[in-house]
Structure formats: C-alpha cells, structure tokens
C-alpha cells in the first residue's frame, strides 16, 4: 500500500495532495497538463523533494519530513517509466535492460527472459536505442524498470509521445504487466481511454490538489466531476463479465448489473471480467421500448439526475441497474418531458462500443498467453 501526503511550493505553483493506493492493480493519476501529476510522481521517486509530508510504501517511510527521512532515489526501489523513455544512448538494449539488475542473483525474482518475452523485445536486444521506434523504446524502458525489481512501478504518461497505432501496440503489454507480474502501478495520464482500459482506481488531480479519488466507475459516474473528467469523452464505466460469444455475427454478450450488453466480439473467455465505457453521446432515449430497431442494447431505467448545465445539450444520469449517462439535445429533453424519476428506455448501439471502450481487468488474460503463471 502506498500512502502519500505531500505539500510543496514551486514558484507560483502549490502542490498539496494526499491519497492512498492499493498493493495491486493500477492506480491512475488523471488530470490536465500542468495539474501537478509529474511533479507528484517525481516526489514519489525522490527526484523532487516535498516541503513537508510523508510518503510510505507498505508501511516503510520513503519520505517523512517530521522524522527527517528522505530516501535517495536509488534507495527507494521504485521503477520509473518516463514519458520520453530515457534509454541510455551509449548502451545496447540489453545493456539498458540489465542496468538496474540487483548484483546478487538471490535478489532477482523477475526473470530476464520472461520480461523480454512479455514485452516482445527479444529481437531488439543487441540494437542501440537510436535504432528503435518510439513504441519499441517505451517497451524497453518498461522492461528496464521492471528488471530493477521495483516494489512499485511509476509510469508517467508512457504513451503520450506516441501516435495512436503505437499506443494500441503498447497498451496490451501494460495490461499483461498488471495481470502477470502483480506489481502495483501508479499510472499518470491525461487520456481517459487509457485509464478506463487499465486502471481500477482513479486519483483526479487538478491545480496541485486532489479533486476526487475512488474506483473508476464511481468517479466517472459523478456529474459534478465532469469539468475534470472531460465533456466530449464523458461516459459511464460499467464492470461486466463475459457471458458468451455469438460466433456467427462476431458479437460478445456481457453480463452486468443492468442485464446483458451486446458488443463487438472480444477475445476473452466466458467468465472473464472487463470494463466497458459507454459514452454519454452514444446513449439515446425513448419513452417506449422501440420496435424494429437496429439498436441491440435496450435497457429500462429511470432518470436519477439532470445536469445543472443547461445548453443546447443536456446531460442525464440514468439508473438501469447500473449508472449510465446520456446526452440529449435540449429539444429532445423538452419533447420527451424528461425529469428526475421518469422511467425511460436507454438505447446503446453495439458498434459504438469499440475496442477502445473495453478494458479487461483482474483474471482476464490474453489468448495465447499460455504461460500465465506470473513470475
């Protein structure tokens, strides 16, 4: 468990944050650029000193201003994956990977070959960083951090410098880390789709402070946090279990608290758990169950909250057994006479739930990962 409570002033910027993160899974630090995310991560790593506070990992203090404890970065044993990978240019990929290896074999629990295979960097071992693509560099940087046997992995926007294709290339590897190596990860990002796919817990950072902290489903379900979680991409996050596949139409049925959700085929075994993000703008409303419609997902529910912000569009929170958001035009809002407590039908197009809306968690594994034993 990571316990953080730090304060510091840096020029005109004041940082005052406190939160705890669990011993496994991914805790995401989400916020806009300049919110203080990187500063916080640098404090955790020991690269920036807070004015006051305490940082402790599994009960041991890494920093404690009251007790005059300030472990040096090399003594903290936290892996750090930087946005710009920071590979040593004068060493081969192999040289980079073994740089942080503990000297004594007895201290090595993470297996070199396993990490290399996991990250798919075997063919790159003898190359120089200069000869690698951005995505390859980031995979090597992740491997390098892991092989130093960290107690916690810090990842500061590891995908921010990459294009969409490279991002899609790396995300599965990070998912594997989380599921295979069971190492706690603090993941910094300003991209909600990454966080929904990866994180269990979200720490919402804004202006050097923590605006909210909790399970991702809860944070995304709060209308009052919408200015921070983002308007366009806003939506509910639903936890679900794979029920079965429709081989003929390449569809997958997901069981969740509100019923069964049909989505484009997901390569997961029945029983696997995953998270689905349903964007508010992909949800339509009807007062009666629609007939002869192409929409595969229709759920009965009630309106529980109407967004305070009244413009050409209105945000609504629905209860369909699980929280769901919908965004409708003000005209439809008036025409349907929507108010809190009104029963409605929520319509979700299956095709709106693409690969990027789905993130698997916990027991879920990739197909083809026969090893699956962890390390």
């Amino acid at each position: 468990m990571l316990e953080v409570a730090v304060q510091g002033e840096f020029g005109a910027f004041a940082l005052d944050m406190a939160f705890t993160a669990g011993s496994d899974g991914i805790t995401a630090l989400f916020g806009r650029s300049g919110a203080g995310k990187t500063l916080l991560v640098n404090m955790l790593a020991g690269l920036v000193r807070p004015r006051a506070g305490r940082i402790a990992l599994d009960g041991t203090a890494l920093f404690d201003s009251a007790a005059h404890i300030d472990l040096k970065p090399e003594a903290r044993r936290l892996g750090y994956v930087f946005q710009d990978s920071r590979l040593f240019p004068h060493m081969s990929v192999r040289g980079n990977l073994v740089y942080g290896r503990p000297k004594r074999a007895a201290d090595r629990r993470v297996d070199f070959d396993h990490v290399v295979t996991l990250l798919g960097i075997e063919p790159l071992l003898e190359r120089r960083p200069k000869a690698l693509s951005g995505g390859e560099k980031q995979r090597v940087a992740i491997g390098r951090a892991l092989l130093a046997e960290p107690r916690l992995l810090l990842m500061d926007e590891p995908l921010a410098a990459l294009d969409a294709a490279r991002k899609a290339e790396i995300l599965p590897y990070i998912e594997r880390l989380r599921d295979d190596l069971k190492i706690p990860i603090v993941y910094v990002s300003h991209a909600m789709e990454e966080i929904v796919r990866l994180a269990d817990t979200v720490v919402l950072v804004s202006g050097g402070r923590i605006a909210a902290h909790g399970p991702i489903e809860e944070i995304m379900g709060r209308l009052d946090l919408r200015p921070l979680t983002g308007r366009y991409e806003a939506g509910a996050v639903i936890s679900a279990t794979v029920e079965g596949h429709d081989e003929r139409y390449a569809l997958t049925s997901l069981r969740f608290a509100g019923g069964v959700l049909t989505v484009p085929r997901v390569e997961l075994e029945p029983g696997a758990t995953l998270r689905v993000r349903v964007r508010a703008r992909d949800v339509a409303l009807a007062l009666a169950p629609p007939k002869d419609t192409s929409v595969l997902n229709v759920f009965r529910g009630t309106v529980t909250e109407v967004g305070a912000e009244r413009g050409p569009q209105v945000d609504l929170k629905l209860d369909i057994g699980a929280p769901l958001w919908a965004r409708v035009t003000a005209r439809s809002f008036d025409a349907l006479g929507i108010e809190v407590g009104k029963p409605v039908y929520a319509l979700i197009k299956a095709v709106a739930l693409d690969r990027h809306s789905l993130g698997w968690v916990g027991a879920a594994r990739f197909r083809g990962d026969e090893d699956g034993t962890g390390i």
């Binding site: 040096k72 970065p73 090399e74 930087f82 710009d84 040593f88 004068h90 740089y99 951090a145």
Partner: protein, 243 residues
C-alpha cells in the same frame, strides 16, 4: 657572423634529424603526454564543479581557471617559479616530503604546459558536460545506481567527446608551450628544451636556420596529426555513443 649565416645548399641530409633535434621531439612528446594525463582528472573534476555545482566563490574559481588564457605566459611561468621553485612554499614542501624537484626539470615543463592548457581542457569538457541529459542521470538513479555509478556509467561516457577534444587541445597546446616553460624550467638541453625552445635556440644560433625550419615543419606535422586524430576519434565516438 654574417658569413656564417650564409645559406648552405639544401641537401637530403638536411632533412634528417640530428640527435639533439630528435631529443627535443622526444622530450616534447613526453612532456605533452604527461601534461595531458596529469591534467585530465583535474580538468574533469573542475569542469564538473563548474557545470554542476553552485558554491560561494564560483566566479573566482572560474576566473582563476581561465587566467592563463589572458595572462602573459611569462607571468604564469614566473608565478610557478615563485610557488614551485625549491624556495617556494609549495616547491619546498614537495622537496621535503617527497624529495621531488619540479623546477628546472621536465616535470616542471609538463606542469607549466598543463597550467597553460587547463582552460582549454576545462572548457571543452564543461561544454560537453552541459549537453548531457540530466534526465538520463535521474533515470539511472531510479534504477538503483548511486551517484558515483551514475557518473562513471552515464555522465562520463556521454562526456567522452568533450574529454577527447579537451585532451587533444591540451596535448597540442603543450607541444607549443614556450613562455611559461622557459621562465619556469629554463632551457636545458635534454631536460626542458622542448620543440619550441629548440626552435628558439636554433634561431639564435649561427647556421641554425635550416635546422629551425625543419623543426618548424615537424611541429606543424605533429599539431596537424593531433588535430586530425582527434577529429577521427570524435566521429567514431559519436557513433559508438549512439548519437
């Protein structure tokens, strides 16, 4: 005197170095080599101090390091003599504790040229040191490396181009050092008479012109060789460093 200065025919034998000339070349190379070797660790330490540390009196130290660039070499040589001569505070201590005499020896010549070349050495290393990405050092520390290991495995290798340039500059500067050397260690054949001093001596000697010219050409070739070597090495190094 005049008749003695008449030019003789240039024959092939005029291109062959005489024993004292060879001695001067050998001595110059020895002095330059030890000047470079001895000043490198100090130069690296000073460059690091100036590039990375803030301390009171930093401007003063920086000024002292650069002083030989602007001071007359003879003045530097004289200061060295005062300081390191047998009677000087440092020289006396050196002699009493280690039995080492540097004044009027080739070691003194190496010290004189090291002092004169020091600003060039420090400058080259400092510039290179300032281009090293501090983020790489931070990354190394998060990987468990202590500051010394970071310095030896990350900072120093990435500074190598600058160290090489600085070392070659110090070497070449030493080959050409005259004023501080002659003032500090005099002009003793076989001990402190390096190439420039030999050229000077010959130019003051009847019938010395041809020999002086030969040594001038030789100096030119040595300096060119040093600079070309450094260029080639620097290029190879950049490739090896993955830059």
């Amino acid at each position: 005197m005049h008749s003695a200065r008449e030019r003789r025919k240039v024959s092939v034998s005029a291109l062959v170095l005489s024993a004292p000339e060879l001695e001067a070349v050998g001595l110059s190379l020895k002095v330059a080599f030890w000047c470079m070797i001895a000043s490198l660790p100090l130069g690296i330490a000073m460059a690091w101090l100036l590039a990375r540390r803030q301390f009171p009196g930093k401007h003063l130290v920086n000024g002292l390091v650069h002083l030989p660039l602007v001071l007359p070499p003879v003045a530097v040589g004289y200061l060295l003599l005062l300081l390191l001569g047998r009677e000087g505070p440092l020289g006396a201590a050196l002699y009493e504790t280690f039995g080492i005499t540097v004044a009027f020896t080739w070691k003194g010549a190496a010290i004189a040229s090291a002092v004169m070349g020091f600003p060039l050495l420090v400058r080259a290393i400092r510039l290179s040191l300032e281009t090293v990405d501090r983020g790489l050092e931070a990354a190394a520390r998060t990987l468990g490396a202590k500051p010394w290991r970071v310095f030896l495995t990350v900072t120093l290798p990435l500074t190598l181009p600058g160290i090489l340039t600085g070392a070659i500059l110090a070497f070449a500067r030493s080959l050409g050092e005259f004023g501080a050397t002659i003032t500090f260690v005099s002009n003793i054949p076989g001990e402190t008479r390096t190439l420039p001093l030999a050229i000077y001596t010959l130019s003051q000697t009847p019938d010395g012109d041809a020999a002086a010219l030969r040594l001038v050409i030789l100096s030119f070739l040595l300096a060119m060789a040093a600079l070309v070597t450094s260029e080639i090495l620097a290029r190879r190094m950049l490739v090896r460093l993955g830059m």
